[in-house]
Structures are given as C-alpha cells and as structure tokens.
C-alpha cells in the first residue's frame, strides 16, 4: 500500500487499494480479531497449597494482631490486618488510651517501611575497596565479636557507645545491662525532638524533671505557644483526639483555642485565633498575661505566693510586652481575661520549631501562667509522664560528637537514629563518624548515617519482631510480629544475645536464647507489679491480645518552687547577619525525615500548601512583593552555616520577618523515594543551644533571602485558595447557632429522573468540619485500603493524582485569617451526574445507595469525570506500578485498576460486604456503627460517621438532620449521601 521513497518519506500509492476498501478490510479483520480475542483462553494459573497449613490462617479470612506503632515516640496502639501471612493494613487499637482507635498518616504508612523496596536485605560489611557488600550473619557477628574482644582486651570497654532512639522497654534494659557487663560502655538515647526545655522548666518550677501529659479534653480555653500538638508534638494522635473532645461543637458549646506562633502551623489552622508573635518572645507574652491576671486579682493563688509572683512579673506590664512581642496590648489583656474566665484553661509550650535559645525561660513563664490559673494538677498531669523525659539532651549529643571526633569512641553502635541527617551540619557529625574506628548500624534502611558504617546488621521492622515500648507511665505497649521477616534481617535484641554467647563472661548473664524469651522474662516482672493475682501465661496471652497493659494515673498536685521566682528573663540569641528569622519545623508527614522514603507520605498533599514530593519555603506576601518573589520562584536562603534554595510558597500565615521550611526532605540517600528530593533546613541551622536545658535551639538562626530568578511550576494539588463564594466549606458562629439564625435545609424536589429506590439500606456519611484538623490520616488510610496508586510528582503536576479522598483547604480572609479544611470524596449522589453520561453502564446507582463503579465495564471515556460536580473521580492514565515488594501490601478484596479505567471512592464497599456477611452469619441486620470505611476508622478526631440513612435511628440519620448540616453545592440538586456539619467559630471579639 505504501512504499518507501528514496528520501525516506512514505506516501500512499495511487494504483492500489482505495482508502474505503482498506477501511472495510480493516474493520472486518479487526472485528474478527476482537471475537477471537474475547474468547481467548484464560491464563493458566497454578494453585499452590500449603505443605503444612498454619493453624491460624484460613485463606480468605483476615487475622488481626495487636501491636505498638514505632513511627514516632508517641507509641500508639495498633491493630494490623494479616491476610494469608501478609500485613496489609494498620488501624488504631481502640483499647489503647493513647490513640483510642485513630492513627496518623505516618502510622498508616508504616506498611511502606515494611515493604520498602530499598530496605537493606541482609547484613553488610565494608570491603577492602571501601564499599558495603553482603555478608552472612555468622560472619558479621563474628566480626563484631572480634572487635568487642579487641576493645575489651585493650581495657577500652568504656569507649563503646550505643546510640539509640527512645526505646524504653526491654531492649533498653538489655542494652544497658549488656554495656555494663562489657565493662562500662555508654548508652545514649537520642531523639530529634527531645523537648529538654519542657523538662528543665518543670524542674525549675515544680521540681519535676519530666515531660507531663496534658488533659486537653478537660479544658475550656487552650492557649498554645507554638506547640504543634496536632502534628508531631509529644503525642499528636492522643492530643488530636483530646482536642476534638474539647473543641468539637457539642451541647451548644465548645472550647476556645488560641495559637501563638510566628508561622501559622497546621495545628494553628484549627485555632480560633492566631497570634503571630515575634520569634522567641513567648516568655514575655506569658509574663504579660500573668502580670495582668495577678495585678487584677484574677489568679487562683493568694497571699505570700501571689505577692512573690507579682514581684516576679511586675516589669512585664501589657504595654511593655506589646512592644517586645509585637502583639497589640488589647489582645494581651483580652487573652489574660479569657484565660481565667474560661476555666479550666491550659497553656502549652515547647514545640520544636519555636524552641529558642531562651526556651526554658519561656516554659517557666508558661508554667507560672498555668500555676496561677490553677491548671497544674488539673489539666497538666504530672502523674502520667512521658518516657521522652529520659532521653539524653542535645548538649550530651554534641559532647558525644566531640568525643567521636577526638577518637574517644572506639565502637559506635547506632540503632534507629539518623543523626547525619537530623543534626545541624555545623556539628560536623559525618566527619566525627569518620573518627570512630568501627561503626555498626542496625538500620533497616540505607540512611545517611548507615552509609558511614563499617558493619550493617539490619533489624526487622516493627511489624516483624517482638518487643515492647513504654511511651508514658500509663501504657506498657507490646510489639508482636505481624508476619515473618521479608528479608534476611535479624532483631537487634537477638543479635545482642547471640554475640553475648561468644563473649567471655557474658554468656551466663545473657542466657536467654532469643529476645522473645528475654522479653517474656522482663514481662514476668511487670506481671508481678500490675497483675499479681494472674498466672503468667494468662497474663501474657491477654496482654498480647490487647496490645499491652493500660492504667489510669490521676494527676498529682504540684507546688511552685522557690527557684521559679528567681528566674530572670532575657531575649534569645539569634545567629546570622540576615534580617529574617528562619524556622525549620517538624513535618507531620515526615516527622524528622524518617517518613521521606514512603511514597504514600510523599504523595499526601501538605495540608496548608497542598504540595507533594518536594520542599518549599513559606514567605509572607508583603515580603515577597517587596522582593519581587512570585509563587514557585526558587529562593536562596543563606545562613552563616550554609545556603539552600527551594521554591517559594506565598503564605499569609507567616510573619513578614520570618520564613519557614518543613523538616524531612533533602536526603542524600535513604532510598529511591527520598534521595535528592527537596532540601533539609536543618543543614543551615545554627548549632546554638538553650543554655538552661541543653536543648537544641531550633529557632536561633537569621538568614538572608534572595530570589535566584529560577522559576518552576510549584507542584501541588490545589492551586486556588478561595471558595469563590460557593460555600463549599461552610462555617457558623456560636452566636448564630445560639440564636437559631441559620439556614434551613432547602428541599429541592424537582427531578428529571425517577426517584431512586433504596431497598435495604442507603449508605451515607456525615463529616463534622468543627473537628477536622486536616491531618490527612484518612487520605493515607484510603491509599492503604483501596490499592490507590501513587503517581509521582510529574503526574501530580498534570493533575493526575489518584487519591479518592482529599483534604480541600480554603483561606477565608474577610474577618482575619481563617483556614478551613474539608474532606472531599465521592458524595454518592442520589442524583448522580456521572451516572447518566456513562455510555457503557459502568457507573450506576446501586440499591444500597452507592454510586458504583464497575471497573471491567469501563472503557475510559471520562464523561463521568467531566460531569462530576465534586471532581472526585480519578482516571488511570497509566498502569501504575508498585515496586516489589510494595505490591505485597495490596488488599486482595479490592481490584487493582489498570490503564484506561475510571475509579473513585466506593465507601469501602469491601468493608460493607464484610459487615453484611458477618451480620448474615449471625442471623441479624447490620448494626449501626458496625461498618466503618477506612477513612472514618483512621480519623483521630472522629470527624467522619458512616451508616445507613434508611435506618432512622442510626447516628448518621440523626446527624443528617443536624442544625449545622448542609450539602455541598446543594443548588445543583445532586442529593449527596454526605452531610457536612458546618465548622463552628467563635464570634470575633
């Protein structure tokens, strides 16, 4: 038909067949091929049965195992779903008093640590050419034993250092005992966010060197001085839950929350009022408030104590404080009044990002404020303290680095910390590491610290091993393996025990054959203390089933010490010639950077910027305009310790004299998902400390910023910030609710189509915007449950992200600056615009009220998506890949979609199916609350309620008629099954 011409071009020849005939032939041939293709035999599959069936596994039925999350020091209880021997989903353990069934996004993503394709697959040793090469466990342990023997023979056992994260529990005890037995090595516990100023200020004020817990749920007025308690601070899921109890609208009222910080964080976004304080001046605001309370006789203290405190704060009259803190005087006095009027109140302080070089002083001032309002022993709970209280201070870490570089450390064993990434470059940790003759890393991942190790003995991940963890005095969490180890890894506890058998003098002391035996032995002691009337086996079985033991510890009263009144207050130091304060803040997605190797967390849009897969710098619009900086421009940030450059995000929620970058990205290694992505703001921080506590002063750097002139698309999922008057995320004030002034549901009866018939159920949902904190746990849970693919930065830039549920973020600027979050997912409309436009009946309304999607019918016209009012349908532009073994996590109850198919939220139809199936087994109807979609299950603040709208007694039915209820874009008459409850705001003062 066509022939190649000499010049290489082709053209249709005229003498042959006509185009028309050609098409006819093609049509017939194609049709026949299609017939043949449709009837082609199915693939030949093998069925591989068990050789010996495991007792506990019935194929097709999941098992749930209780354990403890170790993605951060909070130690939430988790339940992990195991199908046919593989962990496939993590949920919060409802029995754990820490998280009561909720999780955060990081907890959900622990599975992608387990199945990470970049895990270290076996022991590695440094070869003669300087590279790390695989070795055998016996050989690796022999090398370590030789090394230890050599050091002991030289009498240098005290030069052994074991550097771990906070592992309070049996492993901690094993390491301590082991180092002692070796002859006096040091165990140093390093946490990136270690909160020394909180401890020290509590020692000064109350004589208690502890990090307490806070009963946020009991407060009516919460004043937080930059604590990001909904993101990373101390125990974020616990505090998110407690916060929602305090701040969610119920019984015609709610608590008030004021956040004081230079940059409005995700936590601050939930506040009723944001006060953009000058960085490092929190102490003075607290003192100013105390001054007003004391001098107006509003305090809960009296007599000598009151006089003493009055003397302490007398210099800090609101007008003086106003000048120091850059906060209007009226605001200070108003907060002071509210703080004592709305009781019990609570002041929090000590978020890492706001830790200045005078942070202890600030926290002493906050302690005094709590004390005079009568909060200590009420909302500040010194009975139940965090084990974070026991970690070593940053200054102890710096002296370790110092002794490492001086050659005073002969053997460094590193467990689950990555100081090469999390310490400021100014400390030169990587150089110091080179000064240690022998470094052993137990990391599961090739992080920046492990790259410098001589021997790598990879530990199992938390989901593959036995262990325990005590996050706070009230909780002893147990860790049990959910599945067999995937790779040739070995639990560090087992490594210690097995090498002890080969070291003279240690073999008798460490007689346990496995760490499991050691763990059980140490729990025998716990049983004696907490359950003496039970026999151990019963106790053990019960504990393994419930994930640990939980106690209630009441708050204890504390007296303000004399020392508190002798504290003098001064302004913090800042290093750097620039005129801009520089904040490096912990990321709720990556914590201190450990989350960066998990694709789900990389693709979870940051709640404020909605950015994915990269870093950014937040800059005030005023400053940006002055410097000619536009959104997406690359900004160079220079401190005395270095220079980094990243894209600008123009943000109204940051002071004009401050810029901020989240911590977590900027890895040089750490696997394919993290490597060379974004910048690490810690690199350019000044290494200053808070003198009193020895804590790292995260906020003590000043930088100069300049526009590099380079611009790129700033990749994010939501470009616009306004609702354009559409009323998507609605709010109502307390006063309006109180007076009954709110819109009634407009009933729009007109319909072109016959009404839907719901036979047994109509599944529906309610979403309470007064509780949503924007944390994204629901989004990640949905990825995990529904096999939602991760598409990467390039595809998100083309609006091709696949998330079935997203957190939309809107800025309201009429009355101050207010951020609204609204979870947006398929509304399962009764009158769904997507359904009538599907030419192949791939999407339709099912008799239970689900807007169903039949994947294998879908031909990919995308008409449904074009017609969707809520833009919640996602199209598979490609067949996306799960890098082996990430695919092991896939949920077998949900189809994996391929190229050319439309998908969207199903209300977790597989869970509905499961719930109905169980109900039928038990010969009853489905109970209200029995079926929970993954998003609702994960939510730490219980925003989402799912149930049957046809059942008039169900919770969701009641909520659908709530006075705050509204339907998004109701005027379009799509009749959604999701009722949103308006966010409730305090009337502006």
């Amino acid at each position: 038909m066509s022939q190649m011409k000499k010049d290489g071009s082709t053209k249709l020849t005229t003498g042959g067949i006509k185009r028309r005939d050609f098409l006819k032939i093609l049509g017939v041939a194609g049709g026949t091929a299609a017939v043949a293709g449709a009837c082609s035999p199915e693939p030949v599959e093998k069925i591989i049965p068990y050789v010996i069936p495991p007792d506990t596994i019935i194929p097709g039925i999941p098992n749930w195992y209780a354990s403890t999350c170790r993605e951060c020091p909070a130690g939430c209880g988790i339940l992990v779903k195991n199908r046919e021997g593989r962990a496939i989903k993590i949920e919060g353990n409802p029995l754990s008093p820490i998280n009561s069934g909720g999780t955060c996004a990081r907890g959900q993503a622990a599975l992608q640590g387990l199945y990470n394709p970049d895990r270290i697959r076996g022991p590695l040793t440094r070869n003669s050419s300087g590279g790390l090469e695989p070795t055998l466990w016996d050989e690796a342990e022999r090398v370590l034993v030789e090394k230890i023997k050599e050091i002991r023979e030289k009498g240098n056992a005290n030069k052994i250092v074991f550097l771990t994260n906070n592992i309070s529990g049996s492993l901690n005890r094993l390491i301590d005992d082991w180092l002692n037995a070796l002859g006096g090595g040091r165990h140093i516990v390093y946490e990136t966010f270690s909160h020394e100023p909180i401890k020290e200020a509590n020692r000064i004020a109350f004589g208690m060197n502890k990090v307490p817990t806070y009963n946020i749920e009991k407060t009516k007025y919460l004043l937080s001085f930059g604590s990001d308690f909904l993101e990373t601070w101390l125990s974020p899921v616990q505090y998110a839950k407690r916060f929602s109890e305090m701040h969610g609208y119920k019984d015609k009222g709610m608590g008030k929350f004021v956040q004081v910080e230079p940059r409005l964080s995700l936590t601050g976004a939930s506040a009723d009022e944001w006060i953009g304080i000058r960085p490092g001046t929190e102490a003075f605001l607290a003192l100013g408030i105390s001054n007003f309370i004391l001098s107006n006789g509003l305090a809960s203290v009296s007599g000598y104590e009151a006089d003493r405190l009055k003397g302490l704060v007398q210099d800090y009259k609101p007008d003086v404080v106003s000048l120091i803190t850059d906060i209007p005087q009226e605001t200070i006095t108003r907060i002071a009044k509210e703080f004592v009027e709305l009781k019990p109140s609570l002041a929090l302080g000590g978020g890492a990002a706001n830790t200045s070089s005078k942070s202890t002083q600030a926290l002493v001032a906050i302690n005094i404020l709590n004390y005079i309002a009568g909060n200590v022993g009420e909302t500040v709970n010194f009975g139940d303290n965090l084990t974070l209280s026991n970690v070593n201070s940053y200054s102890e870490i710096t002296s370790l680095v110092d002794s490492m570089s001086k050659g005073e450390v002969e053997l460094l064993l590193i467990y689950d910390v990555n100081p090469a990434f999390t310490l400021p470059k100014a400390l030169k940790f990587e150089d110091a590491l080179k000064g240690v003759p022998f470094v052993v890393s137990f990391s599961s991942f090739m992080d920046e610290t492990t790259e410098g190790a001589n021997l790598v003995l990879p530990d199992h991940t938390t989901l593959e091993k036995w262990g325990d963890y005590i996050p706070q005095d009230s909780v002893h969490g147990l860790i049990q393996p959910i599945m067999d180890p995937i790779f040739n890894t070995k639990a560090t506890g087992d490594v210690i025990l097995s090498i002890s058998k080969k070291i003279e003098g240690l073999d008798s002391q460490f007689a346990s054959n496995t760490f499991y035996d050691y763990l059980r032995d140490s729990w025998r002691q716990i049983q004696v203390s907490y359950a003496p009337d039970k026999d151990f086996e019963t106790f053990w079985k019960e504990t393994v089933e419930s994930g640990g033991i939980y106690r209630e510890i009441p708050p204890i009263k504390a007296q303000l010490s004399q020392e508190a009144s002798s504290v003098s207050f001064s302004e913090p130091k800042f290093e750097g010639q620039g005129d801009t304060y520089f904040m490096a803040y912990p990321s709720y997605r990556y914590y201190d950077g450990r989350g960066a190797n998990k694709p789900w967390l990389q693709e979870l849009p940051d709640a404020i910027t909605t950015a994915v897969w990269d870093s950014w710098v937040e800059i005030n619009p005023g400053t940006a305009e002055k410097m000619g900086i536009k959104d997406g421009d690359f900004i160079s940030i220079e401190s005395p310790y270095g220079n980094i450059s990243t894209q600008a995000y123009i943000y109204k929620g940051i002071r004009k004299d401050t810029v901020a970058i989240p911590i977590g990205l900027g890895h040089k290694g750490y696997g394919r998902y993290a490597q060379n992505r974004g910048v690490n703001p810690i690199d350019i921080l000044s290494p200053l400390t808070d003198q009193e506590s020895g804590g790292f002063a995260w906020l003590s750097t000043k930088v100069s910023i300049s526009n590099t002139g380079r611009h790129e698309q700033f990749v994010r999922t939501q470009e616009n910030t306004t609702q354009a008057g559409r009323g998507i995320a609605q709010s109502i004030t307390l006063k309006e609710l109180g007076s009954g002034v709110h819109e009634e549901h407009e009933k729009n009866e007109f319909n072109m189509y016959p009404p839907q018939k719901y036979i047994a159920h109509r599944w529906g949902m309610s979403i309470d915007l007064s509780k949503c904190i924007g944390c994204g746990a629901c989004v990640t849970a949905c990825y995990a449950e529904n096999n939602v693919p991760v598409v990467g930065k390039g595809q998100v830039a083309k609006r091709r992200e696949m998330s079935w549920i997203r957190i939309e973020r809107y800025y309201e600027e009429d009355n101050g600056f207010d951020i609204r979050f609204i979870p947006m997912l398929c509304q399962h409309c009764g009158n769904a615009p997507c359904e009538p436009v599907c030419p192949v009946y791939a999407t339709y309304h099912n008799p239970d009220g689900l807007n169903a999607m039949v994947y294998n019918r879908c031909v990919g016209t995308r008409y449904c998506s074009n017609n969707c009012t809520y833009k919640v349908r996602r199209f598979n532009w490609f067949t996306y890949e799960w890098h082996e073994p990430l695919n092991w996590q896939l949920n077998p109850d949900v189809s994996v979609r391929t190229k050319g198919i439309m998908e969207k939220c199903t209300f977790c139809v597989q869970r509905i199916r499961f719930g109905k199936d169980r109900a039928r087994d038990e010969g009853r109807n489905v109970r209200d609350g029995e079926i929970t979609p993954a998003c609702a299950q994960a939510c730490p603040t219980k925003v989402i309620v799912f149930g049957d709208l046809k059942d008039t007694e169900s919770t969701v039915s009641h909520l659908s008629k709530d006075e705050r209820g509204y339907l998004v874009l109701q005027e379009v008459n799509t009749q959604p099954a999701i009722t949103y409850l308006k966010k409730v705001t305090w009337d502006k003062a």
Partner: protein, 188 residues
C-alpha cells in the same frame, strides 16, 4: 492489483474466522488439564464417598474453599499406599501406587503440589463459597459431577451471564432480586 488485494483480504477474513472459531471451541471444550499428580476425584469423592468438605474444609467459612495441604493428603496416604493396579485414564495406563509415591515425594521434600487451576475467575470478581454453600447450593451446581471425573475439568464457564441466570432464578423476593442482580454483589 485491486482484485488481488480483495482476494487477500477474503483469505485473511476466513483465516481469522477459523482462528476465532478454533479458539472459541478450544476454550469451551471441557478437556481436563494435565496435573502434576493424577488425582482422581472419581476414586475419592465417587468410589470412596469422601465428602467434599473433608478436603475443601473452608467452604462454609471463607470465600475460598481451601485446597488441601500436602499434609492432608499424607494424613490418609501414610496408611493407604494405593492399589498396585493399572488404571486407565484418557487412554493411558497409569499405576496408582506410583501416583501416590509422587505425593509422598512432595511431602518428603516439603514441597507443595503445583496444581493447575481448573475453574478460573477474573481478579475483579468477588465470589464467596461460604454464602453459596450455606444457601444450600450443591457443589455440583457449579463444579459438575466431580464424583464421576478422574481429573477435574470445568463444568461451566463461570461467566457473568451464567451467574446472573442463577441469581435471577433463585431470588426469593423483589428485595433479594435487587441485591442479587446488583453489579457490586460480584464486582469488586
């Protein structure tokens, strides 16, 4: 030239039609696959009357029926070596004792027996044995008279139309019909 092309296309058409027909009949032919061990359902379920659930033990509990483990085979065959007789299957003579020897070998090597799947459902189908068996549907309704087959072959093509016919015919009332005809009942 034009004539030649028309002829060519005619031939091409015929080839494709035959190919299509061949594949269609090949696919719908009920030929049993070659299995690693000549396991005869006829001997087990037919002659010896072993109930289906003895080996497929999860049919009333799970969506999956459960394929017996090698241990289960050995539970009996540690004591039953099989008859040393020639068994005629598919025109070939097979020594049953030797077939059982194969199973023992798998057991000794702690290897699973890699059976070839006979009844295939696409990955997007949610099918639960439990609900069907508990409803009182006989195994034979879908799997045919397994007790008379040596090597099991497919009795029905397990395609949507066939499933729906049964779902429609067996619904007790309007409500159940609506449920059983709903796409989401089987499409996951």
């Amino acid at each position: 030239m034009k004539k030649l092309l028309k002829l060519c296309s005619g031939v091409l058409l015929l080839i494709l039609v035959f190919l299509g027909l061949y594949l269609y009949t090949a696919e719908s032919s009920t030929k049993a696959p070659v299995q690693p061990v000549l396991f005869s359902h006829k001997i087990h379920a037919g002659e010896n009357q072993i109930p289906c659930q003895y080996c497929h033990s999860y049919v009333t509990e799970s969506s999956m029926p459960g394929i017996p483990s090698v241990q289960k085979c050995m539970g009996c065959h540690s004591y039953i070596p099989g008859k040393d007789v020639e068994y005629i299957y598919d025109g070939k003579s097979i020594n049953m004792q030797k077939e059982i020897e194969k199973v023992k070998k798998y057991w000794d090597n702690k290897q699973p027996i890699p059976w070839t799947r006979v009844n295939y459902l696409a990955d997007f189908v949610y099918f639960t044995h439990k609900r069907h068996v508990l409803r009182g549907i006989e195994c034979a309704t879908c799997h045919g008279d397994v007790a008379s087959m040596d090597v099991v072959k497919r009795a029905h093509k397990l395609e949507m139309g066939w499933c729906v016919t049964c779902h429609e015919a067996n619904a007790k009332d309007e409500m159940e019909l609506a449920r059983l005809k709903d796409c989401l009942t089987c499409h996951k």
